[in-house]
Amino acid sequence: MSQSHFIDEYLEQLWYMKEEKQTSVDVLKLNLADKFDLKVLSDLNVKGLAKISPDNKKINLTENGESQARQLVRSHRLAERLLHDVLGGDFEKGACEFEHIVSPELVNSICTVLGHPKECPHGLVIPEGECCKRSDKTALSCIIPLTQLKLGTSARIAYVKCQNDQQIHRLEGLCVRPGVNIKLHQNYPTFVIECEGAHIALDNNVADNISVWRDQQTEDKKNEIQNSSPGIKKESGGLKKFFKRFKD
């Protein structure tokens, strides 16, 4: 198990304790049993996720730690709901790995699909997410093909569909691979993306094979900017500067 995995485990445990209004380190020790490790505890302290009292008796989540724990618990309990309600499966076993691997966007989508549930199958409270506050009715898919990305926005690549080994390696060689941030500059006549400093022109069918994470927040921000200046106007902005420079 990786280090971050351990920390997640501790954060969740601390959230449960907070729900029960417990702050004693001893209780944490008891709950975690053989997973308890003083080193992780000090890590939490160093990373500013939890605060330990000077006498080493009490432990509290910091603001930062609380928001992380909240997201983890939310994911975990939503996963339980999903497995219980939709798939009717063994929700204990499946859900415990779930919170470590999903992105906040995906969790919001699941929450929306399930109709913003308030409690997990055990009857414990599911922390509210952004989607609950907005009471979203439709879940946006989190992963979209590059062809549907808005012009001028950046996104992280989720995966690249494998058509043939050649194409995959060509893209890999240009650093177009999962986890990399790209920016879409142009979508007609060809797609032009910026990736690790290089401008790359792509065919439509190649762009279709690249799937990216839809980043809700940046997209919202861009929407505001773009409403005032759509694609073409932005270009002419560049041109205006060009003429200005000539005048200078």
């Binding site: 058509q163 080994d165 050649q166 194409q167 390696h169 060509r170 893209l171 890999e172 060689g173 240009l174 650093c175 691979r177 500059h185 142009q186 007609y188 006549p189 060809t190 032009v192 690790e196 400093g197 290089a198 401008h199 790359i200 022109a201 792509l202 065919d203 069918n205 190649v206 073409i232 270009e235 002419s236 902005g237 560049g238 041109l239 500067k241 060009f242 420079r245």
Partner: protein
Amino acid sequence: MASDKTKLEVKKNPEEKPVEEMIVKLDGFHSQFTVIESNTNETPEPANKPKPRPQSVSKNNTKTLVKKVAIIGLPNTGKSQIFNNLTGEYNIVANYPRTTIEVKRSLAKIKEQLYEIIDTPSLHCLYIHSEEEMLVRNMILDENPDIIVQCIDASQYKQSLLLTADLLELETPMVIVLNAIDKTQRKGIRIDSKELERILEIPVVESIATRSIGKAEIQDAITKARKSKSSIKYGFKIESAIIDVMSALPFEMPFKFKASVLLLLMDPFLEKSLEKKHGREMIERTRLEISRIRRQSQDKIHRDINSKRHQWVSNISNVTVKKDTPDKEFSQDFARACRHPVLGIPILLLFLSFVYLSVVYISTALTKFLEVYIVTPTVDFIQSLSLPLFWNDLLIGQHGIITLGVFNALCTVLPIISVFFFVFGFFEDSGYISNFCVLTKRLFEKIGVTGKAITSFVLGFACKTMATLNTKCLPNRKEKLITVFLISFAIPCSSQLGLDLAILSKVGITAFLIAFGTLTFYAVLAGVILNKVLKDDLSNCFIEVIPPMHLPSIKGIALKTYHRMISFLKESMPIFVLSAIVLFAVDKLGILPMIKKGMNPLIVSWMGLPSDILDVFMLSLATRSAAAGLIFNMVDSGALNFTQSIVAVVVTTTFLPCFSNIIAIGKEMGIKAAITISGAIVIVSFFLGGVLNWLLIFALKQI
């Protein structure tokens, strides 16, 4: 001696300074550096030495005599510029990917040691995708260079490090050159070259090759190149798989480790070349082993290998790159406008009219000047000698050596094409061509020319032979065939285009529009038909890096134009003179009038041209420019009217490609295809020339 000066240069900058400091220093000393440069440039290599190393010398022998230095890198990272700086030779440099499509070699002496410097086409990684990349890889694998110099443009740092990872696995001594650091610094990217040197355990040098800054450091680094042990650690699972593959390969094979990795990644080119070398049985055995490993890893091993590679790269780039906020670069905005579907069109038209006007006004002024001050006085002088008729004709007659040979080349063709070379060089160096490809991709797709092929197509306007060779990088045979055909059929090359412009501008802008409209129509028609008729053999994908645009340096373009002019004179001058002599002889022997008579129905009745135009067609077989130069003079003297000028220009442009172009087609597509294409072109060209003639006559009557 060159080496002494090299030492002096090294002493000038003995210890390596941090990046910023060095740049300031180098900038300060720039003028001094160039002075030293010009001295060393002349003597890097004794002129009388045979340039390419004789192949017969055995390998062990040459190892001690000449060390091979291969310059390798991503597209557009300045490999050729560094080659030029190191060897004092000139290999064409430009700002579009795949300027260099063939391996070029030259000798250079550094510190009393003779090196063979090898300039190569671009390479992204050792897993290859096209023929020109295969050329580089085969060069590395077969020749086993003693030293590899990798050129890195830090604006594509991670991509470059991927290649570094590959090259390190070859276990060849290496040097890394961080080129164009001035440009990358403006983009806000700073590479800690000291740290990179420490991590990779090989010399890392900073350079600005276009201003030959850092040349001495590169030379110094080449002498210090060493092997590195800091290549990727794949971990037990993958490494044991690699060892399994290695054990299936022949014992004495070089680069076994890297070859095994590539085979695990399913490199089709390598499998084929190994099959050729080591026989079918061996490759079958290896293939079995690989499919077993892939199955065992649930078909994941290639992904795992790639992840390791990327991990290695990001680990290094994390500690060696500092990113500042980049200067907002106007050139990138402009580049975006150039390929924008709406804004790109006026920019394109602006550029085209710039080409037209500069060629027409500057070059015709030049030719007129030369005509008045050189041609006329000389001809008059010879006339005044009142030589016997035979000698008079041989020198200054219709097919005279001086008039049709020397002056046609020097005073008519050269001024026109040098202006065109200069303008074209501007486009090449600015990086506009790649953006043009993006802009026009959809249009070109309609005529079966897709993606990469557009670059080759555009290069045809400079030189058809070069453009034809450039089609090497096209993976698809159908696309290649269409591109090769269109290049040799409908595109005028630089000398032709320059002269065509000059000729048509004499007749008027309408003639220009009609002639080039016709040529465009030809290209579209031929493209559409070929696209429909030919069968697609492979669906391919277009993935291409667009080089950044920048204002090109006038010095660089002037140098390039100069070298192109020199090579034009070297190659064409003898042909000009020789073809004049041949025409003269054929004329005197009475064969030419006979052919003229025989061809009359075709030339005079069908195409409406004067029978003297046959000289032009015969000259075209030797070189296009000589023929066009002759038309230029015919129009000048009023021998051709409006319709005839247009028909003559269109027919000579489409008529049989020049000899070197036919050779190039043969090289790329096979002899059979070359003959078929040439034959088809001649027939189509004469046929359409006649059609055009009658259409024009009909249209003029209507008006």
